[in-house]
Amino acid sequence: SSGDKDATRAAGKARDFYTIGMSQCNLGEPWRVQMNADLKAAADKHPNIEIVFKDAQNDTLKQRAHVEEFVSAGVDLLIISPKEAAPLTEPVAKAVDAGIPVIVLDRAVQGDNYTCFIGADNKLIGKAAGAWLAKKLGDKGKVVELKGLMTSIPGHDRHSGFLEGIAGSGLEVIFEADMKWLEPDARKEMDSALARFDTIDAVYAHNDPGAHGAYLAAKAAGREKDIVFVGIDALPQEGVAYVAQGILSATFQYPTGGAEAIDTALRILAGEEVPKKIVLGSRLFTADNVKQGGEPL
Amino acid sequence: MPPDKPLAAMAGIHKHFGGVEVLRDVRFEVFGGEVHVLAGENGAGKSTLIKILAGVYCDFQGTIEIDGRRVRPRSPIEARAMGVAVIHQELSLVPSMSVADNLFLGQPLTNRGLVRDGEHRRQARTLLGQLGIEPDVNRAVEDLPIGTRQLVEIAKALRHDARVIVMDEPTSALTAPEVERLFALIQCLKAQGRAIVYITHKMEEIERIADRITVLRDGLWVGTAPARELPTPKLIQWMIGREVESQFPRHQPRPGPVLLRVEDFSVFDGSRRGRPLVDRVSLSVRSGEILGIGGLQGSGASELLMGLFGGYGRLAQGRAWLDETPLAIRSPRHAIRRGIALLTNDRKATGLVLSMSIVANATMADLARLSPGGWRRPRGEWAAAARLGRALNLRAASLGMEAGELSGGNQQKVALAKWLQTDPRLLLLDEPTRGVDVGAKHEIYELMNQWTSRGIGIILITSEMPELLAMSDRIVVMHRGRVTSQLSREEATADRVLEAAMGKQMENLAT
């Protein structure tokens, strides 16, 4: 069977079969599971590419090793969604030097020794959420912010973007807590907020599970009707579902870029020029537009 | 006279642990209405034989008959159902549980699965009453003195109304009056036609209660004989394969100058409330002298030694001088540096690290000297251990063996070796011969003679009266933390010691 493999590999060099290595930093988050699913779905449409997934389990050193493994296994193209910028810059550069094109997904690496970066802008999304909420509440109201891990760049950007978005409006963040992206923690923190404050007009959670947890807490307290819940990510089975079920008022898509990555990969493998940076647009889902698949920001 | 059919009979018993055969073709039978003593050196296989009968070990060759029926008990429960109850040598009590719970462990009285605690307590009081003690049955066993624990263990076996009752060294921690009560009980059980299997290393007990004796040596059956045909010297010869001239070979002592002087020494218990465990004791030991301390359970003798050794830290208070220089000991480390050594009374719990080798144990208290600059010298350690091993006549396959794999007597020797290695001036010996066979006992006595002749002072605690009387040059008797009597070798008799131990303050604190 190793003969077969070699034949396939030889065929790959002959540009009708390609192996793509995908190094995912962590499959503990649904969003990243979705990213892998999107990649796989897109790749399945093309019989001439095979995609091998590795999961670094949130460990930078493991991810470095994965990149090295892919290089030594001689994949035709590498897609990486890095856990960290700095430590993965060098392995990615080495892959490029070894002649393997690299697509960096979602989080960047430093410098410009990669082929293409595809990602969305968390800060813009946070800003949009803030602006949307200010408009929805008529420029005044008390907001609870349930933050993801502030150690992570998305958490940080979604926070600072939101503050920019509500700057100048009468919106006031009265309670902010770290819910570590986790739904049970979000519910716990919301419980506390509800106990402390008799008026809460809106909840802005850094992800949809957080918003959902907050909703459940408010529902248990009988106050869910008075509160506007906004989340981010808009995965089909999470945020979009919650909006469709009337749980969240709005969710902002944080696109995985899976389909775009495969698209770009095919273009690179076909020898076409691709832009160095592709910024993915986000979509807003509300009760009004969820049936139509949301609307672009 | 015993009836002609044995109540329990074992024949052709073979048993091995891993590659080692520990029982080879052993036979043993016990009749109703007799006390059958099982004797032999440490590691002869007595406990193993008994555990086979009790269903603890079930992979053995040979046959067991109880009441003429072939049986093969596969668990303690099965054995108990066949009428065999065992008082184990290593107490099978759960320290953290109450007396009542311990007595009914394994077979509680229940009502639809729920434990009937009230009934337990009532029956527990009755059972313990038979043994002449009335402890609070709700107290945790760990809070009881070791003697009472042993009585609880005995009561636990008696609860089952068994026809064969095995007692594996039941008196190793009992005081004289408690032993008396146990013997009375044994007579009573005997009269009911039950069979008693009795294991002990104490010769005077064998002399008193044995009807018949079976001797094992190195896992082999040496013989079975009625007790009157086996006087002590002959019994000893059967057990260790040679003769021992005198059981207690105390040489003529030549006491030197005063080595240790203690004044108003007290040890308080942890809460610092209640009576002190040791209450303003004063005594002195000369070099080359063995000072015996007599006393019953709770006399405070062990605590006195532990306190002198620094084991209680600041809970021990008082003045002491060693070689006329003041002694302010805060920890065992200080004590060892000053040339004091303490052989504790429980080699497994406080004496040895069973998971370490003989060498490691023997050098543990003297590591500082053996490892200059902190760096160990394995070869030097081995040599030191070998020298001690020869001096103590230690029997072990290799010095690299784990201490836990040795028999009790040899373990005791390793513990002694540890202290000899420190070159002590003063040896505190707390029950140095507990659970040790006659041969080894004799060797330990000889060693004590050697040490005193070299000018070492010894304080000896022992619960065996003959040993105390024969080995001590002077005897101090303690009762509830206080010294009640001081006796010279000539004055000391069993009666006087016992009387003082029971608290009768004596006038003649002379000598």
Binding site: P184, L194 | V56, L105
Partner: protein, 336 residues
């Protein structure tokens, strides 16, 4: 804390003196802290207490199971991931396959029992160290949870064959478990917790099996010599722990309205902390459900106080560490 408070505390500590008394002191310390740092008087409203009870309930159920195992001298590191496996399986059965709760719940409990049974067999019959046996089960069950769920949360958004989603209703059993009774004042999960605690209390304190567990934890060899069916009793402790964890998993799924394969990370340490803060000894042989109840309240209130006062993550962790030590120190049995 000022001096006038300290004296009665001392009095209580001395008068009770028992493990329970010492555990109560730790709880009191935390409550005093809550009274002192008390944003907008939250301590004197009903909400936080009610909320605490609900949150603590699921922790408490796990801690009850852990108590059983710890009393035998063991430990169960697998509670978090078994919880996830059960939550995922239960959600799958009730939400995706729309099975009746009367069928799904026993099956979910059986999954918990099976995981416990494997851990128990490894620890009791094959005599692996419980730490390592349940560590393996922890990894294994997490993998199973991910495998069963395909790595996704099992929620009311069900994927069709064509990749689109349809939304199903939250099953009635989820709503029932997540509801409140008695004028909205008592969560059903709190009731379930109390029921679990009562049952384990009876088993431990009154049933012969409980007595056997204490004996095994206190001195396993003695228990064996006394005719206690050690292997069986010990295995059963892990099985019952698994069942209790399954109950907690069902409750958690109901509260989240979904089964999350990532749920329960780090729960094993919380459960152990609760048991130990209550005063049960990790060496085995001592402790009880009453103590675990107190420990549940202590940790629950600590969590709640930090959360109500919106203490930032870093401060929260630092304080939790300090308070755990303080709590355990207050209830240390004095030696000399």
């Amino acid at each position: 804390m000022n001096t006038s408070e300290r004296t009665p505390l001392r009095a209580i500590a001395t008068s009770l003196g028992s493990p329970a008394g010492r555990a109560l002191v730790a709880l009191l310390l935390v409550l005093v802290l809550g009274g002192v740092v008390n944003a907008e008087g939250a301590c004197f409203k009903l909400g936080p207490h009610r909320g605490m009870l609900r949150q603590a309930a699921v922790c408490g159920i796990r801690a009850c199971g852990m108590t059983l195992v710890i009393i035998t001298g063991g430990i169960d590191l697998a509670v978090g991931s078994v919880l996830a496996l059960v939550a995922v399986s239960f959600s799958l059965m009730t939400i995706h396959w729309a099975w009746s709760a009367w069928l799904a719940a026993p099956l979910a409990l059986a999954i918990g029992a099976a995981c416990g049974g494997v851990s128990g067999t490894l620890a009791a019959r094959l005599r692996l160290q419980p730490f390592i046996a349940t560590l393996a089960m922890m990894v294994f069950a997490r993998g199973m949870a991910k495998w069963v769920s395909g790595g996704q949360k099992i929620s009311t958004a069900v994927q069709n064959a064509d990749g689109t989603y349809r939304y199903v209703d939250v099953p009635g059993v989820f709503r029932a478990i997540d509801s409140r009774i008695f004028g909205d004042n008592l969560s059903v999960v709190t009731l379930i917790f109390l029921a679990c605690a009562a049952l384990t209390w009876i088993a431990l304190a009154r049933h012969r099996w409980g007595r056997e567990l204490y004996a095994i934890g206190g001195n396993e060899e003695a228990a064996r010599l006394s005719g206690v069916p050690v292997v069986w009793a010990k295995t059963l402790a892990y099985v019952v722990c698994g069942v209790l964890v399954a109950v907690a998993g069902i409750c958690q799924a109901a509260q989240e309205q979904q089964g999350d394969p990532e749920a329960g990370m780090g729960y094993e340490l919380t459960a152990i902390a609760i048991v130990v803060i209550g005063g049960t000894n990790l060496m085995g042989g001592r402790g009880g459900i009453g103590l675990t109840l107190i420990g549940t309240l202590t940790i629950g209130y600590l969590d709640k106080i930090l959360s109500v006062n919106a203490v930032p993550e870093a401060g929260r962790l630092v304080l939790t560490g300090i308070i755990i030590v303080a709590a355990v120190l207050t209830q240390k049995r004095r030696r000399w």
